[in-house]
């Protein structure tokens, strides 16, 4: 049996062949037979259609290629059952297709493949059968050919998906204005970006990962230096991309985390002191509003599921009804139910008059939520669409860099 973990288990400072052959190195006397190992890895890569340089150092490879190494290592053992845990979490769309191409071939040659994923499109596109889990229990089985995304999603959230709220008219006044924005370096730099977000609208920025979105988000959040101007009228709520590193203190309680970022507001701050009873009451409000499932408010957030952690982050960012909200991949890596809740809270914030900037790698999310869509490619805005006249195919082409 082979297992490819969501988080890679590779030795970054070793070469590709060393990682793949780790523990099963061909020997020549007392030594590892490096040449034999290289040949075997090259042969393995060729047989499975996963080209790789056996001598590259793993920590110098792109994430998608690292995944390939991980997969090759498992394939080298010729497993009869292959387990893949969220294999595409770190992959770009083009890489996902290639990846599953290999997997499907593998299955055709007689390997049983079990994929754990929260991306329904992958399930529909590549699987033969689907099993749905909820709260640690198996709740449904489907033949993929006889089911639909909707049916699977319903089984996942239990009941029907929450309705996306009706859209309010947008106010004409711009709340957020970026003008001639330059920031970052080399491939992920942004160059001369200008756009505005009005109060009461959600502007979605669509694009393939690695086209400058992180640089843009960091510049807007004031985390990196930039040239050009950013003007924001009113207070700001930020939902960062990486909740583990950028938003939460994993060892802290829900109460302490619910406070982070608001510690200087007059609501909780009395001179030098912190009002802990207000902090606790606010945490309760956030937990109730976002349906964060937890035993008590004092449990460490590292014990919560990713979805509940993210709900806490979103609730905190929207607490106090900020005039401008920046959401960067707010539903990444969380289950459908939590994602739907997060999206509906963003829509509520918009309906309450907030200007929302949504940067997401999931085009579906942007199409579902945004009132206006900007397409980002290589650090520039290459297209703009009103919700009324979106054309999925055109957006897809722009995202890929063709006109």
């Amino acid at each position: 049996m082979g297992l490819v973990h969501q988080h890679f288990e590779l030795v970054g400072r070793l070469r590709v062949w060393q990682n793949i052959m780790l523990g099963r190195e061909p020997r020549k006397g007392w030594h590892v037979d490096a040449n034999a190992a290289r040949v075997r890895v090259a042969e393995l890569a060729r047989r499975n259609g996963l080209p790789i340089d056996p001598d590259a150092y793993v920590d110098e490879l792109a994430i998608g290629i690292q995944q390939r190494v991980e997969l090759l290592r498992e394939l080298e053992r010729e497993p009869s059952v292959l387990l893949l845990d969220e294999p595409t979490a770190a992959l770009a769309p083009a890489e996902i297709d290639a990846f599953f191409g290999t997997i499907v071939q593998l299955a055709a040659r007689g390997t049983a493949v079990l994929v754990v994923t929260h991306k329904l499109q992958e399930v529909i596109n590549y699987s033969k059968r689907v099993t749905v889990m909820r709260h640690g229990k198996i709740v449904a089985h489907f033949e993929t050919a006889k089911t639909s995304v909707d049916e699977i999603a319903r089984a996942m959230v239990g009941g029907n998906l929450p309705d996306v709220a009706a859209r309010a008219a947008t106010a004409p006044s711009p709340c957020f204005v970026a003008d001639g924005l330059f920031a970052g370096e080399s491939e992920t730099a942004i160059a001369g970006i200008s756009f505005a977000v009005r109060s009461g609208e959600i502007v979605g920025i669509a694009g393939v990962e690695g086209n400058g979105q992180t640089t843009l988000a960091d510049a807007v959040a004031g985390m990196i230096p930039y040239r050009g101007t950013i003007h924001i009228a009113g207070d700001v709520g930020i939902i960062p991309q990486d909740r583990n590193k950028e938003a939460l203190v994993m060892n802290w309680s829900i109460v302490d985390n619910a406070l982070l970022g608001r510690q200087h507001t007059s609501r909780v701050r009395h001179g030098l002191l912190l009002d802990r009873s207000v902090a606790r009451a606010d945490a309760q409000v956030i937990v109730d509003r976002l349906d964060v499932r937890c035993a008590t408010l004092d449990v460490a957030v590292k014990t919560l599921s990713g979805g509940n952690q993210q709900k806490l982050v979103v609730g905190r960012s929207l607490f106090g009804e900020p005039r401008f909200v920046l959401a960067y991949n707010p539903t990444r890596g969380i289950d459908v139910g939590a994602a739907a809740l997060v999206q509906s809270r963003l829509i509520e914030a918009r309906n309450g008059g907030a200007a929302v900037l949504l940067i997401s790698f999931e085009l579906d999310e942007i199409l579902a939520v945004a009132d206006r869509i900007l397409v980002m490619y290589r650090g520039a805005i290459v297209g703009e669409f009103e919700r009324a006249n979106v054309d999925r195919a055109t957006i897809g082409r722009l995202m890929a860099g063709s006109q």
């Binding site: 973990h5 969501q6 988080h7 288990e9 959040a221 985390m223 930020i238 960062p240 590193k245 950028e246 938003a247 939460l248 203190v249 994993m250 060892n251 802290w252 302490d256 406070l259 982070l260 970022g261 510690q263 200087h264 701050r269 030098l272 002191l273 912190l274 802990r276």
Partner: protein, 341 residues
């Protein structure tokens, strides 16, 4: 993990292993560990004056341990407490020798000067970290040597008292001495200051905005940075306050115990204090308990040597083992936690 197991896998376990190793070392050296340890505890806790001396050692360790606690909680590895202690003592000694004022005034002035001097010394490393990204482990360690060299230059040169036989500053006038708690011992009110400081530090860490942000930086610097914490200010302020607490400790040794300043001020309190802070699990009140435990080792060690012929170095074996075990445990803990779940 339940609390019981946590306690034993942590400080208590480390102490138990260290004591066992020390006992083993005594057996190898041909001494009965029972005799050794009873001499140790007898010497440290046998009578009023023994207990007072143990508390003197406790106090000397407690100040730098609290300073280290503050820095470590803020994610900054200040291992320069030794130098900060020395500089604080130096400031108090240099000014105190010429300060003729009522005791209360003298105490406030000299302890304040010690804190400021230690704060500058710690803040220097903080400033280098905040603005030039200089690793604080290196800079605080190096500043220990600068402090030691500066202190020995000054007591041999400009600050040397003509009347003194050794290289030391002129003695403090009696009015500048900290009042004693127990007559005919060396135990001054400085221990009360230290304990009050521990409570204050705990309050600061748990109840104030500054403490909240400091802990955030210590636990998750990127999350802190993105959530309104001014990182540069936090860095230098944390190290300055950490140094100030150690500097205050140095000043209490000068005004409460030595009544002069020379380079014998600390036999390594600033380093032992790192172990004290870790054994106390970086919680100011538990650090007080840990300081008392190490105070027993420091003051009982001599008695152990005299009575049971166990070299005082056995104490350092115990201390070294505790540091090693706790450091290893922390390392293992971070490695395990950062592993994918």
């Amino acid at each position: 993990m339940n609390a019981y197991r946590r306690l034993f896998s942590g400080p208590l376990g480390a102490i138990a292993i260290a004591v066992a190793l020390a006992a083993l070392a005594m057996i190898v050296a041909g001494v009965s560990p029972i005799a050794g340890f009873s001499a140790l505890f007898g010497g440290a806790l046998g009578g009023t004056s023994d207990i007072a001396e143990t508390l003197v050692q406790t106090t000397a360790l407690l100040f730098p341990a609290l300073g280290i606690t503050l820095a470590f909680r803020g994610g900054l590895f200040n291992i320069g407490a030794e130098g900060q202690l020395l500089i604080g003592g130096l400031a108090a000694g240099a000014v105190g020798a010429h300060l003729h004022a009522p005791t209360a005034v003298a105490a406030v002035v000299l302890l304040g000067l010690g804190a400021i001097a230690g704060g500058v010394w710690g803040g220097l490393a903080g400033w280098m970290k905040a603005y030039f990204n200089a690793n604080e482990i290196i800079s605080t360690l190096m500043l220990n040597f600068v402090a030691a060299a500066l202190a020995s230059y000054l007591v041999v040169g400009p600050l040397r008292s003509p009347q003194a036989t050794g290289a030391e500053t002129a003695p403090l006038p009696h009015s500048a001495w900290l009042p004693l708690i127990v007559p005919d011992t060396r135990l001054s009110i400085s221990i009360l200051i230290a304990i009050a400081l521990a409570f204050l530090l705990r309050f600061v860490l748990t109840r104030t905005i500054f403490g909240y942000e400091l802990r955030a930086v210590g636990e998750a610097p990127e999350a802190a940075r993105r959530n309104g914490v001014q990182m540069r200010r936090m860095t230098w302020l944390t190290l300055a306050l950490s140094g100030a607490i150690s500097g205050l400790g140095g000043a209490t040794i000068v005004t409460g115990v030595m009544h002069t300043f020379n380079t014998e001020l600390s036999p390594g309190y600033g380093f032992t204090a790192i172990a004290v802070a870790l054994v106390g699990d970086l919680d100011p009140l538990w650090v007080c308990v840990a300081a008392f435990g190490f105070g027993i080792l420091e003051s009982g060690g001599l008695a152990m040597q005299a009575v049971a012929q166990v070299p005082k170095d056995a104490i350092h074996v115990i201390e070294g083992c505790i540091i090693l075990i706790l450091a290893a445990r922390r390392y293992v803990a971070t490695r395990t936690e950062s592993a994918p779940v």
